[in-house]
Symmetry: C2
């Protein structure tokens, strides 16, 4: 797992990321302010739950991508990228709220999750409010292409969540099904954010598709890394207990690959651990030896790196050199080596 | 409660309704077909859950209102009213799925509810799919005014659901808060459907507002009747157990009015019953005597009838006589005296 633990490279990439996104900090501050503004409702529980979720942090990867992509495509406006960044974060926040209900999670980014603090009912309904509000904001923005891209992404996102649900504990899923699921669950919204940047900038169809391809690939890479780190732990402060996905019965790439490589006895051990009522640690114990033997976390990380290279190539082939293009590349690298 | 039990008048009104909507039956058949078509997804659980919910029936009051309102406003097109009717039913279905999770319901229209049959997780996520799909369909329809009206309605709907949640067992809520809650929860989407009819027909602002006012009022009337019948029972085949709202701690108009009229000892009895862990029937027993003494179910039904008259006046003042206008009036009457 040297690739995960290569702290020196991670530090370099994180510093590069910080430098690359620094020029967009004023925009990101406006996004934060507008997120709080649009949470408002005369129904007091709605801002309470929303602000709690916002207060637990988040990488704001969608707003930064949307903003940088729009500048890369020549958008010079002052406000649409802010509003649409809020939209992207609201859709993302709504899925986090619903996700935590579905997973019966008790932690999110190291804090008590909203469903524990406010109850499942509040999480479901405030999630619905955030979905609805995001479409109110888009209808006020008034661009049908934006609404089409975002509603399609939201539909895929819901399909991805359902796919994940029906494949809980399904040890026979293939790498292709896994990749399709994480594309829908995580890649589609990030893809849409990059596409929105192109729409704001009035980019050509070719440039829009290149940005969409970039977004799709880094979205998948992002989830690949997230899933791989479930087996490596929280040393980098991700606020998620080690083996949480395993406990929820999520079958992710390191496990799929291990099952494909394992002999009958190893596969049997994994199967009985996953299907038994033992806790997180017992499941991890049974799985981790086989993952290590076949080095499948590195396998997943390599796939993530390959996706990042694909992402960078897609835009490098289509855009002239610029600081915005450099930033898009730095963001792509950061997706794999983030949070040192 | 003579007003609820006046079977002769109900029969007349239901017959009149049936006759009035008969000319729109071919449109309604197309709505049914398109509902099934747009449920489709390569994720098999999605059509399963959706078709189960669709199979449990429903009055399709939103599609009929949208369609008749559009014809009243001179819309002669063949398909937009069908698509937007599907949209309205998808948004409605999504809220039913989420509602049943929040209420921990076990029945819907006399059948096992979807959350019991498929689990809470499936209900939450398929509801999200239906929300998203409704906005995909609207973005394909391509009219920003439609999207604005529907997203605002969906936002209000979510707020109404949250209001209902936070006021569970709140015996101090006023008639105004109750009315505001049922407007958001039920009135806003019906209002939007009528407004969409006006938009499709290219009606004047004045006519659009008259139709919106009609929809708002019959939406509120619809929920007033629904809530009143919680105390009267299922004799008319509504598929909901007697006192289900009471058991969920929903404080509705007959109860609010009874608490306002009751002496201290009666109010105390209601309070202890509502706050105790006794079941549905014990709660009903404690409440029903006071409701009867102060005739508060009739009070709620009178409010519903007043709303229906307001609704009819709003459109009668604005539109020339026509069969479409007659149908809109017959639908309004049916909202109070439906399902004999």
């Amino acid at each position: 797992m040297s690739s995960v633990q290569d702290t020196k490279a991670s530090v370099d990439i994180s510093l590069k990321y910080k430098e690359a996104v620094a020029p967009y900090a004023p925009d990101m501050e406006r996004v934060e302010k507008d997120i709080l503004k649009h949470f408002q409702s005369d129904v007091a529980l709605i801002p309470q739950v929303s602000e709690y979720l916002a207060g637990s942090g988040g990488k704001r990867i969608r707003p930064i991508l949307l903003t940088v992509a729009s500048r890369l495509c020549g958008y010079t406006g002052a406000s649409r990228h802010i509003t649409l960044s809020v939209v992207a974060e609201f859709i993302h926040a709504a899925t986090l709220l619903h996700d935590d209900v579905v997973d019966d999670a008790d932690q999110r980014r190291g804090m008590e999750s909203a469903n524990i603090k406010f109850g499942n009912c509040a999480s479901v309904l405030v999630g619905d409010f955030l979905f609805a509000k995001s479409f109110v904001l888009m209808s006020q923005d008034g661009d049908i292409r934006v609404i089409n891209a975002m509603s399609e992404a939201t539909r895929r996102l819901a399909e991805g969540e359902v796919l994940q649900l029906v494949n809980t504990l399904n040890l026979t899923i293939t790498e292709d099904i896994y990749t399709d699921t994480i594309y829908r669950k995580t890649g589609a919204l990030i893809e849409a954010c990059c596409r929105l940047g192109a729409i704001l900038g009035g980019a050509s169809k070719e440039k829009e598709e290149a940005l969409a391809q970039y977004g799709r690939n880094i979205g998948i890479a992002f989830q690949l890394v997230d899933d791989a780190l479930d087996f490596v732990g929280d040393a980098r402060g991700w606020g998620k207990p080690l083996g949480a996905d395993l406990e929820e019965g999520r079958v992710t790439l390191p496990l799929i690959r291990a099952l494909a490589m394992a002999d009958e006895s190893e596969a049997g051990d994994i199967k009985s651990a996953m299907e038994s009522d033992t806790g997180r640690e017992a499941k991890l114990g049974a799985v981790i030896m086989t993952l290590k033997k076949y080095d499948t976390i590195s396998y997943a990380m390599e796939q993530a790196r390959w996706r990042v290279e694909e992402a960078k190539s897609a835009i490098s082939a289509c855009f002239e050199p610029s600081s915005h293009l450099d930033t898009m590349r730095a963001i792509a690298d950061y997706v794999v080596d983030r949070k040192i």
